[in-house]
């Protein structure tokens, strides 16, 4: 067991024939991901990396039965691509692209929700179920199979966290990089619930950052819904307060989004909060032994 994706997941790549799409699709296939084809408008009918290329997501889904799309299209076209995936019946879009306009992602997320499609990202490393399926750009080799679920806003901290868990003799069920953009898809709450429901996952690592209040919401959610042990790290305790023009963004959530505020909220609900990411592995060992 695992969450979201496994060895049977059929994946297409939007932006399949581009440089990034090609490189990472190859890496994913080498990891064992069942990439069944890709979409590049105008290149339908061709074969790329031994897989069929389609002009539209609709055609790709009809021909391959894919349920997940890995999105590598350039930033200006991400909103469009995600909406296309949603309308074609894709169940999960993993959006790797960095630099998508917020307005586009707002519309794309609303469209995805309306069509019942889950999204991960944008601007994220993707999702990986250890030894089964990698959809994204993370170095597959460090993710060894085990019983720890991982959720992270940051890409390299995902690797750092997973590596420490593995070095302590444990392993990963599924790791999800949710991205840190203003509008993101699956967030802590939904993923915490999935890990709580996954029989194989015995502990959860959540890595957050300063800004916004997702971690505060996660703390409330953990208190009410999560019985498995959770280890958390919040990056940015030493970050200086930003020199911003206005502070309207922080006012809305009623929270300044400081690391301390988030760490306190998580500690208060029994989460094992570490002050340095170098302590993640040890904390996992502590909660599991």
């Amino acid at each position: 067991m695992s969450i979201l994706v496994n060895k049977d997941t059929k994946v297409i790549v939007q932006g399949f024939t581009g440089g990034e799409g090609t490189f990472h699709a190859e890496q994913c296939m080498a990891y064992g991901t069942d990439i069944v084809g890709g979409v590049t408008p105008g290149k339908g009918g061709q074969t790329h990396l031994g897989k069929p290329v389609f002009n539209t997501v609709k055609e790709a889904v009809a021909a391959t039965g894919a349920t997940v799309s890995m999105v590598f299209v350039p930033p200006a076209f991400v909103g469009d691509a995600v909406m296309e995936a949603a309308s074609a019946g894709i169940e999960l879009a993993v959006i790797i692209t960095e630099g998508a306009p917020v307005r586009d992602m707002q519309a794309a997320k609303a469209c995805a929700t309306k069509n019942g499609m889950m999204t991960i990202g944008p601007n994220c490393p993707g999702v990986i179920t250890a030894d089964e399926c990698k959809i994204g750009i993370m170095p597959g080799a460090i993710f060894k199979k085990g019983n720890v679920g991982l959720i992270s806003k940051s890409g390299t901290l995902t690797y750092e966290g997973a590596n420490q868990v593995v070095n302590e003799g444990y392993g990963i069920t599924t790791a999800v990089g949710i991205g840190g953009d203003p509008i993101i898809g699956l967030s802590y709450k939904q993923l915490l619930q999935m890990f709580q429901d996954d029989p194989e996952t015995e502990a959860i690592v959540m890595i957050g950052e300063i800004g916004g209040d997702l971690e505060i919401q996660a703390a409330k959610f953990i208190q009410e819904n999560v019985t498995k042990p959770v280890v958390a790290f919040i990056a940015g305790q030493s970050a200086p307060p930003g020199k911003r023009m206005g502070h309207a963004g922080a006012i809305i959530s009623g929270s300044a989004g400081t690391a301390k505020e988030k760490m306190d909220a998580l500690s208060a609900v029994g989460v094992e909060v570490v002050v340095s990411p170098a302590e993640i592995g040890k904390a996992v060992k502590k909660v599991l032994s």
């Binding site: 990472h24 890496q27 930033p75 200006a76 630099g99 998508a100 306009p101 917020v102 307005r103 586009d104 707002q106 519309a107 997320k109 609303a110 490393p125 750009i137 993370m138 170095p139 460090i142 992270s152 806003k153 940051s154 890409g155 390299t156 901290l157 690797y159 750092e160 590596n163 840190g180 203003p182 509008i183 890595i207 950052e209 300063i210 916004g212 209040d213 919401q217 790290f233 990056a235 940015g236 305790q237 030493s238 970050a239 200086p240 020199k243 911003r244 023009m245 206005g246 309207a248 963004g249 922080a250 006012i251 809305i252 009623g254 690391a259 002050v275 340095s276 990411p277 170098a278 302590e279």
Partner: protein, 391 residues
Amino acid sequence: MNIHEYQAKQVFAKYGVPTPRGIIANTPDEAVANAKELGGNIWVVKAQIHAGGRGLGGGVKLAKSLEEVKELAQEILGMTLVTHQTGPEGKLVQKVYIEEGADIKDELYLSVVLDRAAEMPIIMASTEGGMDIETVAEETPEKIIKIAIDPAFGFQGYHGRELVFGLGITDKAEQKKMIQFAQKLYTLYMENDAEMIEINPLIKTGAGDFIALDGKMGFDDSALGRHPDIEAMRDITEEDPDEREASQYGLSYIALDGEIGCMVNGAGLAMGTMDTINYMGGTPANFLDVGGTANAETVAKGFEIILKNPNVKAIFVNIFGGIVRCDRIANGILEATKMVDVNVPVIVRLDGTNAPEAAEILKNANIDNVIAATDLGDGAAKAVAAAKGEK
């Protein structure tokens, strides 16, 4: 990207959002000429910098004669204005905006920003205009009205009604003017990919008109490509020169006041590295994210920028190589030490893909001031010790 008040007001005017008349000036003489052109007998001389709180900092002043316009422009132009948003170093004032005086009856607050939780734009308004809105939010949160607008359906009548009744505006004509004001502001927020618009104060005149007396706008950097007119408003003198130089090489750099230079891949790990240094009793000299495609040139540039800071006593290179192979980074570091004179200890922690090969490369190179670290904790500890002059 942020723009100046006078530029924000140009955008407002384009959408029919009422603003006082005003003209930008670079010199005291221009300021006087602008005041003459505007006419009247009262003007406001306003420092143009990318920060709020200008009035309290002495950057906004009232002039009752042309002589006074000149005096105030002389005083404000060239001053280093310190406000609660500039940091203690303040910002140099290079332009002043000369504006006609306004007949202020009431001061309100209005802004449009993205509500991340609702995942849609939100209009925030308050009767407590002219005050620091953070103080209002803290002390009297009930005085802030929040109205979320779903872009799929746009600005509706009820949004307007919630706004005017919330602000206690009872006069029919005034209600209509306020609703139109807010609707135009929402439209320009959406059409220009704004990140935030803030008007504080938005005034009601004696005649019952609503006017944007101030204006702040920030834009989504990722969308600037489709707004060349907005991008043309960029004022690079408002940006930190080192941060700007770094960004040209794909590096994200922020100077801090500690002693340990940091070079890390990924913003989260970069912050985590700073946190670890602090935790171990050291102080980070900077935040530096070299991004996902670090090579010899970017690493060299990183060293160069870090070493410009005279406080740096050691550098901690912390790279978790994912797709980037560690052996290439190691070679990059060796190359960089040839390109840049690195005169402080460099603690290197390379993990991930091809980490053993990387360790071998650094070991064989046998450079005196390059110290290898096995993991994040070890590296941070060695960097803290090195900065304190310990081996």
